[in-house]
Symmetry: C2
């Protein structure tokens, strides 16, 4: 793999919002981006995605040299995959389409080049089952829109070389994403699993006439979301419980885990789980007391609410 | 019930972060607030909560006449409940504590006065099972911190008079909250159910060493949250799928509902559910096309990210 500061050109594969979003992100970071679309009918939508993205990327600040002129759209996969330093794959989220794609790269993509899949939750082990160069394949799962949301979940298969994972983590960091390297392969990774649990509960509620889509969105926007932009669910509960933190949360609301407050059954709250949660929150708190953390949370929420009001 | 513009005094019951948070909210709206604490040991923490809240409320803007001097703290429940226009109850989230409290109000609180429970998910039917004046009792569930997050979920029992629900909705709107009136009583209401599904999936992942609390929070903060502050999960998926919207989402990712991307099983995606989701999203879209909605989403995310960066 190239040194990060020598990288000039990446490929973004796929004409949908994720492929287009990645292309826009890399363009904004000053890279040349070779884009592969499967089908000419995708061309106009793809250009629209890039143009919509570009307006926002200007607001966030472009890297020196960034330009839409650095984008090259092609319908020839071999051409797109030649002379690139990295490949972000965003073909449709269908296992056999992904598998067929990773078979092709064996002979189309130089063996040294890393390929990262935008899959929302499929395992790279399954995706590369027939790929002979799986050692350089990883998941690099973004959140939509990929040019704005910082998260990229990174995980390899048992065939992926450990140094590839290290390089990919550094690559995404260098190009200003926030990589989250998973300990192990799990379907849906971390962020999709959390979102998917929420989504399925939402679908159940709509199905049972307990809520409408409008009520669900209203609840999220005005409830947990403005806080969650600053504080994840673990620290939100840690700080919500005053000085006692997560320990108090689990003591006080532990019994609520038995209640039918969602269709998902909770795991048993044993001592080991309790300690992991408490230790994790204490680590994140870095010695800051309740008042300090609540104060930071509140300043962040005020900033978010005021920003959205003025938007 | 009083006319909204004649309301001068409310009671906030409970010395924890929710009781304190509500007190701070009503104080910021220019009301006199009578606070009841169960225990003198709660006093210092309660004052800290109010003081932390007040800094942020100043940033959001106080209503004319708002002052911390309008707060009266008492350890005498009868005194607190006398001569008030509305009661927000935030006693501990334990069913029999709540039930005992609602028995007491029969003779301590004037029959015309509405009482609203901050319960995160208990049913007001269960809470008021021994209460003779249940007709004026509702749920008014805020999100923490109650002085910043706008949502209040409102639902009554079969005993609650319909005009009380109407009045409570107008009351919260008048005092600048965003009430969400539920169609029916369900444990956990809407927002808690969504959050609880996410939370239980998180606990499972920590228990199984699939994720640490730090990874969970990192994933939420950098993934779905900045978008969710502007767009709920339904509209996020509607807009993520380009021109086809939620219909394309359900066609394309419908099969993913069968995948083990969370421990919660999805409902069967039949035509009725599909139509409800598509119709709900189209209603929220109000005729705006993909590009317009994506553009608004992006502007909002940029505003949120820049606000948090500067914070």
């Amino acid at each position: 793999m190239k040194r990060l500061d020598e990288i000039t050109t990446v490929a973004s594969i796929g004409g949908g919002p994720i492929g287009g979003g990645w292309a826009a992100h890399f363009l904004a970071k000053g890279l040349k981006v070779k884009c592969y679309l499967h089908d000419k009918s995708e061309h106009q939508q793809f250009v629209d995605i890039i143009e919509t993205a570009w307006d926002s990327l200007i607001q966030l600040g472009l890297t020196e040299g960034a330009s839409l002129k650095n984008m090259k759209i092609s319908f020839d996969l071999a051409e797109t995959l030649s002379e690139v330093d990295f490949v972000q794959e965003s073909v449709p989220e269908v296992l056999n389409i992904k598998q067929q794609f990773y078979e092709k790269i064996d002979h189309l993509l130089d063996n040294n080049i890393v390929i990262s899949s935008s899959t929302s939750g499929l395992l790279i082990s399954d995706i590369t089952v027939n790929c002979k160069t799986a050692y350089r394949a990883v998941v690099g799962h973004p959140f939509n829109p990929p040019y704005l949301l910082p998260l990229v979940e990174v995980v390899g298969s048992s065939k992926t070389k450990p140094q590839i994972i290290d390089w990919v983590k550094e690559f995404y960091t260098y190009f200003e994403k926030v990589p989250l390297v998973l300990n192990k392969e799990i379907p849906g990774f971390i962020a999709t699993r959390l979102q998917e649990a929420l989504w399925r509960e939402a679908l159940h509620m709509v199905k049972n006439n307990e809520a409408t889509p409008e009520q669900i969105d209203l609840a999220l926007i005005n409830g947990p979301a403005p806080r969650m932009a600053h504080q994840g669910q673990c620290m939100a509960f840690h700080v919500a419980c005053g000085a006692g933190g997560m320990a108090t949360n689990l003591d006080q609301f532990g019994p609520a885990l038995e209640l039918p407050w969602t269709r998902l059954k909770a795991p048993q709250l044993d001592k080991s789980l309790r300690n992991k949660m408490v230790d994790g929150c204490n680590k994140m708190a870095k010695g800051q007391d309740f008042k300090t953390l609540a104060d930071k949370r509140d300043k962040a929420i005020v900033a978010v609410l005021n920003a959205l009001k003025q938007n």
